[in-house]
Amino acid sequence: MADIRMNSIMKKYEKNVTAVQDFNLDIKDKEFIVFVGPSGCGKSTTLRMIAGLEDITEGDLFIGDLRVNDVAPKDRDIAMVFQNYALYPHMNVYDNMAFGLKLRKFSKSEIETRVKNAAKILGLEEYLDRKPKALSGGQRQRVALGRAIVRDPQVFLMDEPLSNLDAKLRVQMRSEITKLHQRLQSTTIYVTHDQTEAMTMASRIVIMKDGVIQQVGTPKEVYDTPDNVFVGGFIGSPAMNFLTGRLEERHLVINEVKVLVPEGKMKVLRERGYVGKEIILGIRPEDIHDEPIFIESSQESKLVATIDVAELMGAETYLYSKIAGQDFIARVDSRSDIQNGQKLELAFDLNKCHFFDATSEERIRP
């Protein structure tokens, strides 16, 4: 297994189209790193540069102590699982898993040992003679993973491997991959556009937008302290609410609505010179409350909102409403029976809110 170091990596296509720029990341041995971001953000391109399937325009890539920019993909000791994975339909499971080893001229006995070992890990022992069409979706996905595991590589690269599965199977395979990683203890880089996958699987998340890293951190770090509006809005479902307002001496004024800013946060904003300026308030849906006890103790962040839509999700309900013309979503306990069009008292937990610069959209820090 190995560390991976990426120093100032850049990918440029012709006519100055930059797909990835100034990408710096140290991945420790055995880490499960997830690259996440919207379509076209450069996450798959970065993965393919690590694999060697895309040339690196600038910068250095190290796997272990070796600079691998010019090392052929097959010599990088990596294994890949792709988004639109497929199995060879005319080969049985054993041969599907063995094919990559055959290509690398492994002996028959070594191939047998590795395939049987991987089949045991993945619970595929009794399916080795079956053709792919006789397998369920989950079993096929396990074979696709098996094809990578048999190589016993230094690094696993996975590009949206679950995106073609239905929602139920995706959740199941998510935990299977996590368990597999815990068992194999292999350095893994996993690409997804699904923030839930990123949050549930990663040791660290790399959030990307327009070819640039926005933030690197543990799932908890990026959820609790997003570096900018994009990260705040991307991580978390439903997304963080953003309300733009003008900061006064003690309050944030969102059009005609005034909310009291806690003194700890106000001190930072004051010191950074934001009084009298526009800033963005970010608040997660779960930090907007409808419980009477909370509202009673939060009189200065209370508002009366007309609920446009109340979506019952089971244990919780999503409330869609507006404050001073700006949309927001609250996530409240489903014990509250709330109807569409109902007027309701809500209160913001401003101790948990985030403030961002209105121009740069960066987090305002002490």
Binding site: K74, A79, Q83, N84, Y88, A148
Partner: protein, 293 residues
């Protein structure tokens, strides 16, 4: 390396084995850059053979020893020789594979294709990186989407970039040659693209092919005129909307913006370009202008 070898061996060297004569009478090798070449057997001394084999690799037998069917197809597609066979041709299609990386193991590549498709294929290697496969047509042929998955599997096995053009069905030898020639020309026009797709069909390649035939100056004139004042953010927005087949809710979700914000941006796009992508002609224009942009 091939230029140096040509210098040394002069007219004794050929680079394409186009017929049975060239297969039998030439000794075939490939350079470390995967370029094949043959040298007339009787002109080579033992010393030259030993020397050559230090630097280049003999081409494997599968590559050279062609079955009657392979020879017939090779002659038909590359030499224009009509087959003597009077037996009717099974409806088929031609798959053109191109390996874009060095160091591919052609024999195993062929085995992989065989296991992707079926065992009644005819393989014709044009050179060490171009494989032509004649596939008898099936009731449920493998779709372009399925090919996408299979090409990714090959990529992860071989660690190479490879692309395929899925040809159209034909029923006669004459049709096969006509289709092949046209499809090969279209396929060739994409091979120099940086952002090449893995799978092309006649239908999916049409917009790109159309643009490749257009004069760059004319294209830039039209694009610059229509997109004269447009903000870059709007281009990304329209691209996403077109990618989502004009589904505003889905596009807004993928762009992480509210549906109303998307509507606002689209109004701005129409204001700045005069294009209303809700109409088919304007959507086609926007699509083509953004495809090459």
């Amino acid at each position: 390396m091939i230029d140096k070898i040509k210098e040394m061996f002069g007219d004794r060297i050929v680079e394409e084995f186009s017929d049975v004569e060239s297969v039998n009478n030439y000794r075939w090798y490939k350079t470390p850059q995967d370029q094949p070449f043959g040298i007339r057997k009787h002109s080579l001394t033992e010393y030259e053979v030993n020397l050559l084999e230090i630097f280049v690799t003999p081409l494997p037998a599968y590559y050279l020893q062609l079955s009657t069917e392979q020879t017939m197809w090779k002659q038909l597609l590359f030499e224009g020789t009509q087959p003597d066979s009077k037996s009717p041709l099974k409806p088929s299609r031609i798959l053109q594979f191109r390996i874009l990386s060095k160091d591919a193991d052609q024999e195993l590549f062929q085995e992989a294709i065989e296991n992707m498709l079926s065992d009644d294929l005819i393989f014709v290697w044009k050179n060490t990186y171009s494989l032509i496969v004649i596939e008898p047509f099936k009731d449920e042929p493998i779709s372009a989407q399925q090919f996408q998955g299979l090409m990714q599997t090959i990529e992860s096995d071989f660690f190479i970039k490879a692309v395929v053009f899925i040809g159209t069905a034909f029923h006669t030898f004459q049709d096969s040659v006509e289709s092949f020639e046209k499809e090969a020309r279209i396929f060739q026009s994409f091979l120099s693209l940086k952002n090449i797709n893995q799978v092309y069909t006649l239908a999916s390649s049409f917009p790109n092919y159309l643009l490749s035939q257009m004069d760059d100056d004319d294209y830039n004139f039209i694009r610059n005129h229509i997109f004269h004042t447009i903000e870059p953010e709007l281009k990304d927005t329209v691209k996403m909307l077109l990618k989502c087949n004009l589904n505003y809710s889905l596009a807004a979700k993928n762009l992480f913006i509210h549906r109303n914000s998307l509507q606002y941006r689209m109004d701005k796009f129409t204001e700045q370009t005069g294009l209303d992508v809700k109409t088919i002609p304007d959507a086609v224009t926007a699509y083509l202008l953004l495809l090459k942009n």
